[in-house]
Symmetry: C2
Subunit: 459 residues, 2 copies
Amino acid sequence: MANWENYLESNKSRFLDEMLDFIRIPSISALSEHAGDIQRAGEWVADRLNAAGIEGVRILPTNGPPVVYGEWLHAPDKPTILIYGHFDTQPVDPVDLWSDPPFEPVVRDGRVYARGSSDDKGNMLIPILATEAMLKAEGSLPVNLKFFFEGEEEIGSGHLPATIDSHKELLACNLVVSADGLQWREDQPSLLVGFKGLCALQIDVVGPNVDLHSGIYGGTVQNPIHALVRLLDSMRSPAGDVLVEGFYDDVVPLSAADREQIAAIGHNETEYREQLGVDRLFGEPGYTALERAWVRPTLELNGIWGGFQGEGSKTVIPSEAHAKITCRLVPDQNPNKILEQLSAHIEKYTPPGVKISTTPKAAPSPAYRIPDDHPGNQAAYAVLEEVYGKTPYYTRLGGTLPVCRLFLDKLDVYTVTFAFGLEDENAHAPDEFFRISSFEQGQKAYCKLLERLSEQAGL
Amino acid sequence: MANWENYLESNKSRFLDEMLDFIRIPSISALSEHAGDIQRAGEWVADRLNAAGIEGVRILPTNGPPVVYGEWLHAPDKPTILIYGHFDTQPVDPVDLWSDPPFEPVVRDGRVYARGSSDDKGNMLIPILATEAMLKAEGSLPVNLKFFFEGEEEIGSGHLPATIDSHKELLACNLVVSADGLQWREDQPSLLVGFKGLCALQIDVVGPNVDLHSGIYGGTVQNPIHALVRLLDSMRSPAGDVLVEGFYDDVVPLSAADREQIAAIGHNETEYREQLGVDRLFGEPGYTALERAWVRPTLELNGIWGGFQGEGSKTVIPSEAHAKITCRLVPDQNPNKILEQLSAHIEKYTPPGVKISTTPKAAPSPAYRIPDDHPGNQAAYAVLEEVYGKTPYYTRLGGTLPVCRLFLDKLDVYTVTFAFGLEDENAHAPDEFFRISSFEQGQKAYCKLLERLSEQAGL
């Protein structure tokens, strides 16, 4: 057993306690009242890097949430790897659907239940702990390492482009390894080779200048909720195609090879459907559910509100109604162009008698694709195969990791995702959890990955 | 000057203080946490009736909120008048749009600002004060009086049918006078001769069994918000017609006489539109705004909610989405039949991949119409003409006073509305207010009405 392996083994319970400490910071990036918690989480990460033996730890100045940087650069002639993760979390509502308070982690059945446990605090802690084990047990690392942890991934990493631009030399590397990502199943590893892009929009509909009594005014003015549902309904066909003009224009058609790679996974739609508790799956016709999730663009309504939401009846015509939309994009869709198409659609389909305005939410981000046989992928593939004893799948994600695209565009390096969350862990939903077995296996896998990258050709 | 008039004059400031006390009780009937406040408001009314010299004051047992009864029956050979009002209020949200806390009345520019000031606490207090003035200053009343105040008008008076059924003898009378209603303008009286009926429904859409990450699951399942907006959009044409099958089947067509009576009011649509701050009016084609508001049935969305409503972006496919609908009905629509038609429509138009359930909200109530020349109307007309110095308009209300219909069906008496709220007083909206001048003028008008009814032929 390697020295680092012994170290990981004997520090297990301390590492778990540290994860729980980290999770207790309610670092929700979408809500400005948590700005102080984002700051605290960044400082927690900086302290933890220092404790691990990482050097030059600092909080990079940005115009947004803090970015935490650290490095260990004493492996001459070896590649330099930049490790990425994020310490912000999703919001917690609807909070009444949680079994326990979201930021008071509960350990149950080998899992840690809490917001941020899987996405991404538990996962981003893994490479820090792996590094500590190697440094403390071996005295050195097999590669040069840089750490780069952000605090606004869940709202689209809007300030990262500028931060990366102004630290290009500091961040220069041969490969990025992302500690944000997924494995396929507890017993099945996977290599993520594609992410969707994203753009997000809030729609605000304003009608009469005050909420009106629907008995006195009903039938005389456009009801903002009616106008909103009409507008939103115009964006999608009954079958599930997006009807925004031009939406599919730049989409790279699905190749036979893509279809084969996705089909090879043997995704069981019945099982998937039953797991979600729906009587049928639904989406753009002509594609499997996995193809739709991974390589077809989508438009989803994430939130809607207006008027009375209490328990009884309130006979009101509200002054306002609102909705939030995100589009998940694929190569070669341009998120800014899609936002323009959405705005044009909204203008064209605005019902009479209301005013509609839109606000982009989250930073627009294009899709990302890494070649299957990239040297970083080769190293990750070998380690996953060794650790799991199984050939990894090549997978995609409908989710967005804007930073992959940023690193490619600005630092000219690809990002390999090497993370240990699973799809069933309720990321972005109530009762998020992270498996402690994944947490521990991930630490070993990271040590092996650094060793493998040290010898990897082509980097 | 009559003795009662002196009494009203010298007790002005006490009466105003009493109105403020009454308003401070947050008796919101739609929210079950305010059940205790409804009870307190009922007790306040009972105490106030006793103080006025009313006899036999009691709280009638019901299966719902309390009903307060009182009587004065010492005018042999004179008609018996039952005075109606309600001491419950609308909810207060959106509470952040109020200039002051809704249940802390503020007196400003001759107005009392608070929830319930106009609808209906200020108005229902008027006949109590008028009665006190006559009893204390004259020693007797010119007619026999019964008082009947309820605490669930704002949620459709669901328990009133049973309460009236079991107290038919107690409530027997020659005419009901409602202290819930409206005048046309500060300087223009009106006689309300028709109310719309009402039925209300909540729609609950359930999709996946938990909120899903829209990146991971987007495009694979029906989004409950998409399903809801599709369903709701199917209920109304772009022009504003209700598309629920059978909705207009039983509607009594608008007669030429009705149109003339409504046109006589000289409703200024431009002024109305500007007051509401919209760039155009909107509704069922072929009718004026006032015709739509008064005599055409409507379907309005009163509330909608689902998914993320916070400030940023949360990329979720929510498990649920919800909406609240009310229909305002006209003669001869049957509210239960309309609810069935709505349910059939919802079943027919439920999009694939979600389950939809509906719950009726508020008690279904048919529309109400009193003959223009009813003896009660004749008396009210004469008093209004005298007090305002102007010929009253004959008006209708899109709003619903279910109790008018109940009294007609169960006690075989018509209800004359005799109340002093105005349409601009934000009933059901933030910053509701009541004019102190209306409060005072109303007290005089009630005294005169009782005198007039004492001599009215045909009752």
